[in-house]
């Protein structure tokens, strides 16, 4: 993304703190993430990467500070509106978080059913997105009968099926071999090209070393670096 392009932040954090008891999981975090940007969040285990992502979709609430997502201040979002907020995000996890008792197709379709789409539209969209993920043949299988890479492809299909503005991926390749990891990253790139913002928490050195995207480096809950790859290398 050119430095000259005028940027619009879709996620803004102002002096955000998240405390668990006496521990600061995040401390004084301020950052902007732009529309259609691709950002990595990295740092050692326990640095606060997962917490940072959770705060964005209100999986957790801030202890202090403000977060704006797509123009709305998360503190002001009433509990009843949290489901609507969640629909702005597609969320991907290291452990896939698929419903074990539902087929791949049902897992993907659920997102649209929850949003109240008509059954025909649900079927069309879910099948479409599973085809994009290369899971069309196995869409009637249950997660336990799929490989890790396949499950994560279903999870990506689920994340993008509702056309969310933002994808949050927490260690999406953490339990995958490099070939499967590459497929997942390609799928996410494809989705970014449709205008979405992609935020990925990872400590996968291989992925980080090959990217020319922005990397946010966290340590002990603090942002140590907002910079590009070369900056991170200097820190290490």
């Amino acid at each position: 993304m050119s430095e000259l392009t005028k940027k619009h932040p879709i996620v803004r954090m102002f002096h955000v703190y998240k405390r668990y008891g006496a521990k600061n999981a995040l401390a004084d975090v301020s950052l902007d993430i732009d529309f259609n940007e691709w950002v990595f969040v990295t740092g050692p285990s326990g640095a606060g990467k997962s917490t940072l992502l959770k705060l964005m979709y209100r999986g957790e609430t801030v202890s202090e500070g403000q977060i704006l997502v797509d123009g709305s201040n998360l503190i002001r979002v009433p509990q009843g509106q949290v489901p609507m907020l969640r629909r702005k995000f597609g969320v991907i996890f290291q452990d896939f978080k698929l419903i074990q008792t539902k087929t791949a197709y049902e897992n993907v379709a659920l997102v649209l059913e929850v949003a109240g789409l008509k059954p025909q539209l649900v079927r069309k969209k879910a099948q479409n997105v599973l085809r994009q993920a290369g899971m069309e043949d196995k869409m009637n299988q249950y997660p336990p009968s799929l490989s890790g890479g396949e499950q994560q492809r279903v999870a990506v299909a689920r994340a993008i099926v509702g056309d969310p503005k933002i994808i949050l991926a927490d260690e999406p390749t953490g339990s995958l071999d490099s070939r499967s990891a590459a497929i997942i990253m390609d799928l996410l790139k494809g989705y970014q090209s449709r205008g979405a913002t992609i935020i990925i928490a990872t400590h996968d050195k291989e992925i980080l070393s090959r990217t020319n995207q922005r990397i946010i480096y966290l340590e002990n809950g603090r942002v140590m670096d907002h910079g590009m790859r070369t900056d991170v290398e200097r820190n290490e």
């Binding site: 489901p83 907020l85 969640r86 629909r87 969320v91 419903i99 074990q100 008792t101 659920l110 929850v114």
Partner: protein, 285 residues
């Protein structure tokens, strides 16, 4: 539905619990319906006889009739003249006719036969009314047989009270058991519910399967209980009709509106169990 199949054992336990408590409670109801029938049959026979003093003038009798008819709890008043009284006495005592035939004078006084409103025939009301009638100047004496029915009413009311108390107890136990089984089912769906929330499901959307399960369990439990009761009823009534003449005791099943009410009630119990467990579960998870 799929939910219920996944937790087949829990579902069956819940349905059996509801069925059992419905069976016990509605068996009590059946007993009361039939005991009530018997009592009403007896009550129809209750009347108060008010004998009029011989000094009362014929012109005053009409006034007395008015007074009696206006008393609370009185349904009907019938005048029985001394002649009429004698006739019916003669009819009742045909064998000893000669004895009565030989009477020169009619020893009977004029009387009023007082019938009460069936719904006001409690023991206390009968006694109060009798006392008020006998306090009237032109009434000599009052007679009301079958006062023992009043005692029976008291016992009946005691049983009714015990029955209602038990019913409330059953209600609470059933709701408690249902809400617990549904909570168990919810815990087994905990990951699924978390994921549903993650993808933007409202609590309403998450609750729907549990409510469907609760309502179905309630309805099925209620029907199973009633079917069991009906089978029991058939067995018992066949037995009674073999041993007694059906004129003496005729037992009937619960009226259809009560049956319907019981099913609505058990559906409500299923709903309430759901409501309570969901409210707690969604708050804490």
């Amino acid at each position: 539905m799929k939910d219920m199949a996944d937790n087949l054992f829990i579902t069956l336990v819940t349905i059996m619990t509801i069925a059992l408590s419905i069976l016990i409670a509605s068996a009590g109801g059946l007993l009361f319906v039939n005991a009530g029938d018997v009592m009403n049959g007896w009550k129809k026979g209750i009347r108060i006889m008010a004998y009029i003093t011989p000094e009362t003038r014929e012109s005053d009798v009409a006034g007395l009739r008015e007074t009696l008819a206006k008393m609370s709890g009185v349904r009907d008043v019938r005048f029985i003249s001394r002649q009429e009284g004698l006739e019916s006495l003669k009819a009742q005592m045909k064998r000893q006719m000669s004895l009565i035939d030989n009477l020169d004078i009619n020893p009977l006084p004029d009387a009023f036969e007082i019938f009460m409103n069936p719904e006001e025939q409690t023991f206390e009301k009968i006694e109060t009314l009798a006392a008020r009638v006998s306090a009237l100047d032109s009434v000599d004496d009052v007679e009301y047989g079958q006062a023992w029915i009043g005692r029976f009413t008291q016992v009946f009311n005691l049983f009714k009270f015990i029955g209602i108390t038990m019913g409330i107890l059953f209600f609470m136990v059933t709701v408690f058991i249902i809400s617990n089984t549904i909570r168990l089912a919810l815990y087994s769906r905990r990951d699924e519910i978390q994921i549903m929330r993650l993808v933007g499901a409202t609590d309403g959307f998450i609750q729907v399967p549990s409510y469907i399960a609760g309502l179905i369990q309630g309805a099925v439990g209620g029907m199973v209980g009633l079917i069991a009761l009906y089978i029991g009823y058939l067995a018992i009534s066949a037995n009674i009709e073999k041993n007694f003449s059906s004129y003496v005791i005729h037992i009937r099943f619960l009226p259809w509106n009560v049956v319907l009410g019981i099913i609505v009630y058990s559906v409500f119990v299923g709903w309430l169990g759901c409501f309570l467990s969901l409210r707690q579960f969604l708050k804490n998870n």
